[in-house]
Every structure is written in C-alpha cells, then in structure tokens.
C-alpha cells in the first residue's frame, strides 16, 4: 500500500505547532500534526469551577500518587489536585543531570501541550533582546530585528488576544492590546510608592486572556482557574484557538499518541518524514512528509534532532558543528519576597479572580539611571497584592467560634514581589543524549547539564538588594525575605536555546527562518531556536517566530524550493 506523503509534518501541538499548522493550512498546505500525548476531553479532563470539597483530597492532591508518579512535575505550582492530568508521568519521561546541577523539566504532553497550563504572560521582545550582543558585546545577536518581528507580533496578538496597557516603554514594546485588567488595592498603593521612589512603572500584567470577546471566543469570566482548562476558551490555548482554525481548512490531520523518535533521512541528505511509536502499544510507525517542522518544545525538538543519527549525520541532524544542544537558557528568579500591608487589613472580602499579577518592567541596564556594571542585562519584578484566603488561620491562636470569628473578620493583606532575570546563553549549558537511560518508548533520554554562571550570581545580589529596597519602601510587615538562592534551573519552564538561530552555520543550528542549516526541509520553530531571552516570558515570541517561519515555509513550498 502506498504511504501518503504529506506536504508538511508538524511535530508538537502547542503554542508553536498550533500556529505553524494554522498558517500553513490556511495557505493551502496539507499538514499532518503528530502529538506525543493524548487528546484532552473538556468534559472529562477540565476541572474548571470544581470546588475543593468536591475532590477526594480537597485540593491538596493525592500525595502518594504525586510523589510516586510525578516527583518532578508536582514541583510546578500548576501540577496539583485539579491539573495534574496536564503534566507527564515522570517514570515514563526520565532525564538525567549531574548531582550538583539540578534541573527541573516540566512537561505537558497532550493535544495542546503546555498551553493548557501556561501562565499566559505575554511580552514582546525588543532590540534589547534581539540585538543584545551589539549593545554589550556578549554572545550573538538574533539574525532578526524588532522591526522585522513587529508585524508577526501584531498578527499573533490580534488573533489570540492579549490584554494590557499602552505604556510606550522601549524595553517592553506595547502589544496590540485588548483592554487591560485592573490593579488590586495593594498594587495601587505600591504603584504610587514605586513610581515616586524608583521612577519605575508598576502596571497590571500583560496576559493572553480576553477582556472582551474576540473571534468567536467569549471574554474571560475571571474564575482564575486557567490552568485547569477553559470551557469558554477565554485564554489562549492551542486546542481552542489555533487548532480549530487549522481544522476548519480541511487540510489538517492530527494524530495524537504519536511519540516521535527521529527524523527519517534519505540519500540526498534531506528528510522524508519521521519515525514514531504509538504511545499505548509502542508499535513503531512512520509518517512521510516533504517538510518536517519540529515544534515539540525546546528540549524535545533538540532531543529528536540529536537522536536522528545516521551515517551522514553521525551526531544528529543540525549538529555538523557541535552547536546542537548548547546555549540552554532559563530565567533566574529570586522568589518568595513579600509581607503584609497592615493599612489594608479588612473585615470584608473583595472580589477575586484576576488571572494575572502586576509587573515592574526591567529598567536596570536598559533605560533610565539604573545601570549596574557588575553584570550584563537585567531583571524585572512581579507579584501580586491580595487578601489572604485562610493562611492567617494557622497563626491565629485559640479554637471554637471565637477563633473562627477572628479568621473571618481580620483579613490580612499580602503583597508579594519577586525578581526574574536574564540567563546568559553559555556553551557550557547544554543537553545531550544520555548514553544509557531511555524513556518508556526506548528513546534515549536527555542528559541536562545546566547551571548559573557568574553573571547570574552577580545579578542575584542586585535583585536581592532591590527587593529589599522595594519592601522597605512599601513598609511591608511580617516580612518574608526573598530566598537566598536562585530558583532551580528549569523551574520557570522558560527553557530556550539548544538549537539557536543565526546566520553562521558554524555557530548556530537554524537560520533566520528557523530552517536547519544542514537540512533545508527541517525546521525548528519553538523556543529551541532562541538566541537570547531577556528576562521576558518567551511564549509570545515563540508564536511570532512560528508564524514568520510558516510564512517562509509556505512561500518556499509554493516555489518548490524545499
């Protein structure tokens, strides 16, 4: 029987793959999407609007199951009693790291990938990121500029919907915004103080939640449970936004439960498609395509390239110069700072449900007087101000009705603040195939070798000092100092790099259109292709470069040049 050859195979159905599929199918290209995980069924798998008392473990989770099956995933704040189904089983998905270099790899394998549980924060990068090397001499520029990216950001935002306020900041360009959400009382207080004392803006976060209806999707109803799935599709996830658009074209074919292991290479040095395993039966299968787009998440796309070893590509596809796997980044954060705002203690509850916090954008080493020569690049601050729900009950003495009355009527107001900074791309931070460990499907596991360098540690000191100054200025009480250690590498789930883009095939893996230098019909469109990531969340930029790459693929495909 003749095997069907698709125009394009897209591996991965998340933020990047969804956009590539939408753009290509709308331009007349036939797409086969392979997704390693299962489909999620809203009525079965979404837990939006469930109350804790409806759950067997009241929201605290089946700890013995979590500790056994998801000892890594459970460390993610969103992997809980309501949402653990959106995260992988760690025993099926092993990876290794040196004992002194812990790495947290949080993974969501399903139709939609991690877009079910992402935090929806959406920032544009600027030339402070794209052209960072030209500014301070470290590393490499992206081969694209903000000006080139701008129309793609516009397209993505106009379709997915990003709420936020126009601020005119050069270091954090404005998006095409839906109306912004609002600051809470504590954040309003903090805004005035921070703006006066530091000259920094404190604004409500920019979030891929609809504040007004858009493209047939109703506005957010502010239940603040996005990571449990969203029945009304009021935040961006690929299964309810980009994938339906692709499906409507009639040119979209989705195969879930297809765990891709490697690219199939032909004697011309091009790919013919991919080899994959059925997730349940482990049966080996193949899919044929004229072009393959890897959008499986940064580290998974790189793993597939590394595992595509053959006589012509002994170290994997895209690895002729030993760059593949290197320059891994994740943001550094200094977390848990905060305290109480006694002036806002109340006896009455405020409405809650805004699905984001505030941000004080990066100023250090960008604009304004805050320069620090001890490190390159910079960081931003974020957090939120809100009433305690019942955390104060644990420190309330007594018992009985009197105790309950105190808990009810003396509601403390908490304000949290943390810093998130840039991690420089270093050759020394890399992933490679583990020589022994394999996953449940027999695919070599990744060995991840990543740690923070001198720049991140110097930046940490500055973050710490600034967090202290902010908390002082706000006169927070019962103060919780920020942690004295940066977050575990990977914890931010902003892992990027390992197949970075560039003009020089000797120092990069893909070109400015996410096309592998060595193999013209293979593309990597996810965070693997990032050159730098600033201190900003990467997903919006992942989507924008995916659209840009898809435009290029469609053009080249039409010309027959691939």
């Amino acid at each position: 029987m003749a095997v069907k050859t698709y125009d394009v195979i897209v591996v991965g159905s998340g933020a990047s793959g969804g956009w590539v599929a939408k753009e290509l199918t709308e331009k007349g290209v036939e797409v086969l999407m392979l997704e390693a995980g299962p489909p999620r069924v809203p009525t079965r798998d979404f837990t939006e609007h469930i109350w804790p008392y409806q759950l067997k473990y009241r929201g605290f989770g089946n700890q013995k199951k979590l500790l056994t099956d998801q000892p890594v995933q459970r460390l993610c704040y969103a992997c809980d009693d309501y949402s653990q189904q959106f995260f992988v089983n760690d025993s099926e998905h092993p990876y290794t790291f040196p004992a002194d270099k812990p790495f947290m790899w949080i993974r969501g394998r399903q139709v939609g990938g991690k877009t079910f549980c992402w935090a929806r924060v959406s920032y544009r990068y600027s030339d402070f990121e794209f052209k960072a090397a030209s500014r301070d001499g470290y590393g490499q520029d992206w081969p694209i500029s903000y000006k080139e990216m701008e129309p793609y950001y516009d397209r993505v935002e106009s379709y997915i919907g990003v709420s936020g306020s126009y601020e005119g900041l050069p270091q954090l360009p404005d998006s095409k915004f839906l109306p912004p959400m609002r600051l809470s009382c504590g954040e309003m207080v903090a805004k005035e103080i921070v703006e006066k004392k530091f000259g920094w803006k404190l604004i409500v976060d920019r979030s891929a939640n609809l504040t007004v209806p858009l493209n047939g999707r109703p506005a957010c109803h502010y239940c603040d449970q996005c990571q449990r799935g969203c029945f009304t599709a009021s935040y961006f996830n690929s299964p309810s936004v980009t994938l339906p658009a692709a499906a409507r074209t009639g040119r979209f074919h989705l195969v879930s439960d297809a765990v891709v292991s490697h690219l199939l290479m032909n004697h011309e040095g091009k790919t013919d498609g991919v080899a994959y395993l059925d997730r349940s039966t482990h049966a080996a299968r193949e899919a044929r395509g004229k072009i393959v787009v890897l959008a499986a998440s940064a580290l998974e796309s790189t793993r597939i390239l590394l595992n595509s070893r053959s006589r012509n590509f002994p170290n994997g596809v895209g690895n002729a110069h030993g760059v593949l796997g290197h320059y891994l980044m994740d943001h550094t954060t200094l977390e848990e700072g905060g305290g109480k705002m006694p002036a806002l203690q109340a006896s009455v509850r405020e409405p809650v449900g805004r699905p984001c916090g505030y941000i004080i954008p990066k100023y250090v080493n960008t604009v304004g007087p805050h320069k620090n020569k001890n490190f390159l690049r910079g960081y931003y601050f974020a957090g939120d101000g809100r009433q305690e729900l019942y955390g104060h009950a644990f420190s309330t003495p007594g018992f009985g009705r009197e105790f309950r009355e105190k808990v009810r009527s003396q509601i403390p107001y908490s304000f949290s603040v943390y810093a998130q900074g840039e991690c420089l791309p270093r050759y020394d931070n890399y992933v490679a195939l583990d020589p022994e460990k394999k996953d449940a499907w027999g695919i070599p596991a990744l060995h991840i070798h990543a740690s923070y360098g001198e720049n991140e540690l110097a930046m940490q000191k500055a973050m710490q000092a600034h967090l202290g100054e902010i908390m002082d200025a706000l006169k927070l009480e019962d103060r919780r100092p920020p942690r004295d250690e940066l977050n575990i590498f990977g914890k931010n789930i902003h892992e990027c790099g390992t197949a970075r883009m560039g003009n020089d095939p000797k120092t990069s893996v893909v070109n400015a259109f996410n096309q592998v230098h060595d193999v013209k019909n293979v593309f990597v469109t996810d965070g693997a292709s990032f050159v730098t990531q600033g201190c900003w969340e990467p997903t919006l930029t992942i989507m924008a470069i995916s659209v840009r790459a898809a435009d290029y693929i469609a053009d080249e495909f039409r010309k027959g040049s691939l």
């Binding site: 700890q63 189904q85 509850r349 019942y390």
Partner: protein, 235 residues
C-alpha cells in the same frame, strides 16, 4: 440536577455569556482534543456533575451506609470528632464535623504511604526536592510520622482522663478543659503535638468546605463581567 437555565441564572453566567451565541463550525469536524468554546461544557461542570468518567480527577465518592474509618479505631474516631467539633465550635454530630473528620481519617491513613513515597525518592528526585523546598522541609516529609503523632496523642489524651472510657468518658466541660491545656501550648508533649497537627488539618478541612468558604465570604471561583480590581482607593 439543575437545568442549564438554573445554573446560568444562579451563577450569573447568564449575564456574562448572554451576548455570545457560539461559533459556526461549518462543515469541519474537529479532531479529538480540539475544541470550541461551549456553554454545554460549562453547564456540565456547574451541574454538580463536575467531570465525566475516565479521567484522572479523583472526586469525593458519594457514600451509602455508615462511614468506616480507615485509620482510626471506632473509639478513637469518636475522639477525633469530639476534638474537631471543639476546634470548630460545633457539635461532634454536625454534618460539617463529619465531613472534615472523614477527610482527616483519609489523610492520616495515607500519611504512611506518603512518607514511604518520599523516602523512596531516587537521589536526583531528592536533590530536586531539597533545592525546591529547602532541606528542612524535605527532612520533615521523610521523618514526620503523622500516624505516630496521632496514636501517641490519642493515648496521651486517654491517660489524662481518670476514669473508664478515656477521653470519651469525660464530660464536655472536662474535654474542653483538656483542650485548653494543649491548645497553643509551648510545652512539647504528645498532647500538644497532636493538637497542633489536628488544628492545622481542621483549618484546611473547614476552609475548603462550602460552609467554611461561605463563612470567609470568599468571592472567587465566580463569574465576573469585568476584571476584579481595586474599587475604592483610586476610583
């Protein structure tokens, strides 16, 4: 079982979704896992029928017949209910006390397996936990023996009761007097350790209950037509 109209009216979703009529899918049938916004899905969640079978979500099971504790002996379970009642200022027979005591029994029963799972961590998983929570928290997870704290606490309470029947044989006033001794106490003995643990669980149990959330006046998990934010400071 509510009708869809009832839940729309009840939760205010009607206001939020009123102007929205859904999407015309046209001819395309969506592949599994791809979905369009749907009121039907939402109605499903709100109709007291939160998830359809086959998923990973573990719901409270509707029980028929009397509750059989998994960890507590019948006389110990009476003590648990008395203490839970005292902490909440409710009768030991109140529905809310039963609801919380049943969950505490599950939690204490599971604690041994949870601790065993923590102790069975591979070295890399233990390393991650230590860097994530700090070493002290991980040690507590591995070493804090909930069942021992509960067993010793129950035995201590019985030992304080002079007559037959232990703690259960005391009058309400005597029980209350004993609780006053061990609540917020700075001395470290099996009674205070047990009470401190139990109070934390009762707090978690109560403030995740319908009654507890209502008492707090919690205004989340709701439907708002515009984003909640500061209303009184700067207008």
């Amino acid at each position: 079982m509510q009708t869809r109209r009832q839940w729309l009216l009840q939760v205010g979703g009607g206001t939020v979704l009123a102007g929205w009529t859904g999407v015309d899918l046209g001819a395309a049938e969506l592949p599994p896992g791809v979905y369009e916004p749907s009121r039907d899905h939402l109605g499903h969640a709100l109709a007291g029928n939160p998830v359809s079978p086959g998923g990973d979500t573990e719901l409270v099971q509707i029980r028929t017949g009397t509750f059989q504790p998994a960890f507590f002996q019948p006389n110990q379970y009476r003590v648990l209910r008395q203490l839970t009642g005292i902490i909440l200022g409710e009768s030991a027979d109140a529905a809310i006390v039963r609801e919380i005591a049943e969950w505490i029994d599950l939690t204490v029963f599971d604690a041994a397996a949870v601790r065993a799972a923590a102790r069975a961590f591979s070295p890399p998983h233990r390393t991650l936990a230590i860097h994530f929570y700090a070493a002290e928290s991980v040690r507590k997870l591995e070493e804090f023996d909930v069942q021992k704290v509960v067993r010793e606490g129950l035995a201590w309470l019985d030992a304080q009761a002079p007559g037959q029947g232990g703690f259960n044989g005391l009058s309400t006033q005597q029980q209350l007097g004993l609780v006053h001794r061990i609540a917020d106490s700075k001395t470290d003995d099996p009674g205070t350790r047990f009470f401190a643990y139990l109070k934390e669980r009762v707090i978690d149990g109560f403030y995740t209950s319908r009654a507890g959330l209502d008492e707090l006046g919690y205004r989340g998990n709701a439907f708002y037509a515009s984003p909640p934010g500061c209303e009184h400071l700067y207008g």
